[in-house]
Amino acid sequence: MFFRRFKALAGGPAVPALQKIIGLTIGLVMVWLVFDGDSPLNRGSKPQPPKPDAAQTAPEQSAPGQAAPEQPGPASPPRRAPNSPSPAIASTSPAITDSLVALGLSDHIVGRSPYCRSVGASVPVVGDLRSFDSERLGLAAPEVLFVQPPLAGVDPGLRAFCDGKSIKIVARRLESLADVDLLIDDIASVFGVEPNVGGTELQRALGNARASLALGAVPAEGARKVLLVVSAEPMLAVGTRTYLDELLAGANLANALGRDGYIELSAEALLAMAPETIIGVSETPEGARRIEEIVRRIPWKEGAAPKVAVDAVPELLSPSLAAIAHRGDLVRLAEAAK
């Protein structure tokens, strides 16, 4: 009735009933997909618990039977769990969160970013790499906030907010393994310990993590040359001066791409490079399969087709202690390439 009166006022043509029903149905489905936490779309976007081999030192995420409650909406922001051990930590960087989890510190995490896969959905989202939610951050009440600031530095608004709430900000940009090494120092400082192979459990974890970094490693003469690809469309390859290049070197694999940064390679460029081995790492199995499919479809010169191996190893895709724990996957893939 209202709609018809509105149409009459607007002077436009009447909308047939079928169109209304279709429109209403599409609207309801969209609302369900977007707002229902159990809708297939939202199920897919929820952080997943880490795989058993996500990190050498990763502990259980939650006690058995402890269901992760739905993340409350804005009307009822989540409160920090009263039994969180001190120091309570929030992290808006997936790589730092992964590193904390890898060190067995997941119980300390009271806030996360929506992209932190390694902690449960019950941990409230307090921000991401570029923004923060002051209300949720205030209610999560962390003592320490880990951030990966942009080049311009920490958001002054966030700094002022944290000063007002006595939250200590630890800002660390993670681009290389040396940065991860500094992160180990940051974490040790927050917990007031020294990384030490023979100390407490945390000290041992920090010490082991530092030892496993293999900083400054150089592949041996004659080491196997591999081209590491991390995306299919566009075909993104890992160049020098990246943490993945350092991981390759630590695994005694030589990088076939002698160019800095992450480089989009065309099929022609791959053909011109003619690498002997290509290993593909992706976030999802579908992405890994796509890398392999594209590489196989390139018309390689007779006898010049590279050996290829791909896998979904999302932990490798951000510079963290979890990535270092998965360095062995690079070796595994290089050996599996055929």
Partner: protein, 331 residues
Amino acid sequence: MTQAVKHGWLLLLGALVLAAAIRVSFGPVSDGGDLRMAFGLPSTEALELRGNAVIGAALLGTALALAGLALQVLLRNPLAEPFVLGISSGAGFGVALVLASAYAFALPAISIGGETGGAIVGAGATLALVMWLGRSRAGHDPTRLILAGVIVGSIFASATMLVEQMVPHGLRGDLMSWMAGRLPEIPEPQMLLFLAVLVVVAGGILFLRSRALDVACLSDDEAITSGVELRRLRAQLFVLSGVLAASAVAYAGPIGFIGLVAPHAARRLVGPSHRALVPASAVAGAALLVFADCVRQFIDVGTGRLPIGVVTALAGGPAFLWLLRRGRWTA
């Protein structure tokens, strides 16, 4: 055929041949561990890749140009094109929804219509919505149509971003790069064949209906007096433009402004008669997109090549503004 029209045809065909020749002879060569771009005779394998790239770009450019031309006649609006009318965004949303649903339900995308199916549904729905919104009592108002297209396009673009937020990083990256417009370097042969057949059929229909298209650019009364069944013609143009734009988007993501610039360039070179304009637009679209693909081979910002959609938008956006500013247009 007048001398000017002959020159126009020569220019169009020459541009296409030149762009194709540059694209085929320019490419990456290995330089130790690094790569550099150079002119030269390509190897057989590289020629296959570059040839596919030229064919793909030419077919795509033709599809976009024909879609733009059909829309300009359908809406009697010289600024109409799939990108401006939001059709590309609608098709993009359809593709994003298919990919996200396939991910959420752990199904192969093809089982729920595939990217092409999603793009066609999204494009058709958007075109219908924009036409409905852009209609006033006096018929389709050009300004209203463009405004409706821009707004509907923005809504679908935002909805696509919403879908992006709900999928994992890997898939999000794929969607984002797809939204920037990318030319598949190793296209699926079936998709190329489909695009080729579509372009030939759509181009053939438009060519055969060229007289009706000429008349359709006049007023409704004049068109009906001339014996043209306007409703039927508009239905054909609606379907043709929707399918052409949707297939182009499914193939390469939203690529803007080719559908706008190509018919206008062709119109300047061969005149307004659709008998010449339909094939000329097709050639102009092909030449423009192959040329855009050449341009991006020359630009290396340190991380590889620019997405093709960025190149066409950077060149086509100012062309759109120029046409808008000039204000003397004919559909």
